[in-house]
Amino acid sequence: MATTPLLEVRNISKYFGSVIALNDVSMTVNASEVMCLLGDNGAGKSTLIKILSGVHKPSQGEYLVEGKQVDFNSPRDALDHGIATVYQDLAMIPLMSIARNFFLGSEPTKGWGPFRRFDINFASQTARSEMAKMGIDIRDPSQPVGTLSGGERQSVAIARAVYFGAKVLILDEPTAALGVKQAGVVLRYVAQARARGLGVIFITHNPHHAYAVGDRFTILKRGRTFGTFTKDELSREEMVRMMSGADELDALSHELSEFARRDAAAAQIDEQLAESLEAAESLFEPESRREG
């Protein structure tokens, strides 16, 4: 590849005592690209992204951000390098307001010395306008995040990451607990983030969601990379095969019959999604020259 990848890991391994969670995994992510990370439960997806986001240190291997080797000691280090993560279960603090959640850890302040204070008005206005850019109308930024739906919550977390200048956005199963419509909302933001030039790492168990927004697909299996494929190299059905493993055809055929049942619904999702993606991108285009 001609350009330096935004983010690259080379031959990463991670051991938890005697458990080998990751074994010799390599992967790259480029700007304006959605990299889907696929794999069964326990394949090591969350472990890999925890290394990328500074929660864990790799036991072995190299980690490069924009071509330079890095060694993160905390999530703060990763954030400072523009790597923002929306976690599977821990995205938001339910009893805190949207505005407070939005700026948690990077609070805007005004005033000097002992009178330096949290600029709540700026926080509220910004949270509101950033959410509006993503197409969600927040009437009251002081309302607790716990009152939002799952999809809206994920959207706040994504909007926050984008606002704070993330170059790489990591999403761990953001659509797992969501209904069709809410998942569509989140997928639309994933596409928007890509349109803004971010590199996105998107973890999901749902091949339809992956196929709708993914440009490339890395498949993990029992802690190892099973391969990285571009969209042209992989049909949806092949992807389902890969995700469940070619040697588990029994399980697969059972699963496929399940998918057949859902196919009508899936086709409909794709259609809706294609429409909303177009809408999203056209909505975004005139603003794409916006600076930082």
């Binding site: 954030l79 938001m92 805190m96 407070r100 509006a132 009251d140």
Partner: protein
């Protein structure tokens, strides 16, 4: 700002929350209602026996002020997701430290008080660090320090003085400085309001400002709301919690110093059970036992209720034994009310 150019089509399911509805989701609401109710009850029972006079008011405000200083700090710590059961023992320890340094080692009392403050900060730091390092519940760690501190205080005071109480502290050099800061009172209309009430109000205001208007306040809510999520966005949760433990120990020191100055003596048993009463006041004030939600004003209202009942019972001529019955019942009712209000806060705008 872009917000003025937003499309206003919105979502038909969103209902704008009015100011009244918003008030109903405040954590202090239950305590405010409780305070008014308790005041009315004693105004009725003891109104003609002095409860309503300025001096009566000053007397329950003084009781409330000691507790309120503790409760404000405890509220911050509880919002940050931890407990401190050692503050009662810390009161005894701080008082004994000042008295021993002054009477045995001949140190000016103001300097002794400064050193006691340093000791308190150290105890808070150790409590916090132990909780973070061991990952044990702070309930357990500080229950341990409750006994360790009290035991150390009694043992060391006895070694140095042969007694467990030290009196006549106003005869010692440096007492004037303490009296100026902690022992004065403000005459209003013939009644005298002790300066501890001013400390109480100032500390409640400071705690409220920190919670609502500073970055650190946002971190406190997040540390108690979901520590892992907070860490993941870069909040230094461990530092926040250790700081809060240092704040509760400092509040205990302040109460100890004020009491020592007012009564001119130290007693190694002083502050016994204050930790529970302060936690009850904070809970009555709407601070959740599970952390992440609450207010310092609520804790002040909880302390006010406590003070009014404790003095009101005396004015009404009721046997003081009933006070504990009230305290326990109030705690249970308060938790039930809190759960109800919290649920409303989460659902108010659905």
């Amino acid at each position: 700002m872009a917000s003025s150019t937003l499309p206003k089509q919105g979502d038909e399911r969103v209902v704008q929350a009015g100011p009244l509805k918003r008030l109903l989701t405040r954590p202090e609401l239950g305590a405010l209602g409780g305070a008014i109710l308790v005041w009315l009850i004693f105004a009725f029972l003891a109104g003609n026996r002095g409860f309503l006079t300025l001096q009566g008011t000053a007397s329950y405000l003084e009781v409330s002020s000691y507790l309120g200083i503790l409760a404000a700090a405890i509220a911050l710590l509880m919002i940050g997701g931890e407990f401190d059961l050692s503050i009662g023992s810390m009161i005894g320890a701080a008082g004994a430290t000042i008295a021993v340094l002054g009477s045995v080692f001949g140190m000016p009392l103001w300097l002794a008080a400064l050193i006691a403050l340093f000791v308190a900060l150290l105890v808070g730091f150790i409590n916090g660090t132990m909780v973070i390092r061991t990952k044990l519940p702070s309930f357990i760690i500080t229950l341990g320090s409750l006994f360790i501190l009290r035991g150390l205080t009694i043992a060391l005071t006895r070694i140095f003085t042969g007694r467990t109480q030290i009196g006549s502290l106003d005869q010692l050099p440096g007492y004037d400085v303490l009296r100026l800061l902690f022992g004065g009172s403000i005459p209003i209309g013939g009644a005298s309001f002790p300066i501890s009430i001013v400390w109480w109000i100032a500390i409640t205001a400071l705690a409220t400002w920190v919670l609502m208007r500073t970055q650190f306040g946002n971190w406190i809510f997040s540390a108690g709301g979901n520590a892992d999520a907070a860490r993941n966005v870069g909040v230094p949760v461990d530092r926040v919690k250790i700081t809060l433990f240092m704040a509760t120990a400092t509040a205990a020191w302040l109460v100890a110093t004020i009491q020592l100055t007012v009564v001119k003596s130290a007693d190694t048993l002083r502050g016994t059970q204050q930790e529970f009463i302060a936690i009850i006041a904070a809970v009555i004030g709407g601070n959740l036992l599970t952390g992440g939600y609450g207010s310092a004003v609520g804790a002040a209202l909880g302390a006010l209720i406590f003070g009014m009942v404790r003095q009101g019972i005396v004015y009404a001529g009721i046997d003081a034994d009933w006070f504990q019955v009230f305290l326990g019942a109030m705690l249970i009712v308060a938790v039930l009310v809190n759960n109800f209000i919290r649920d409303r806060a989460e659902k108010a705008r659905r």
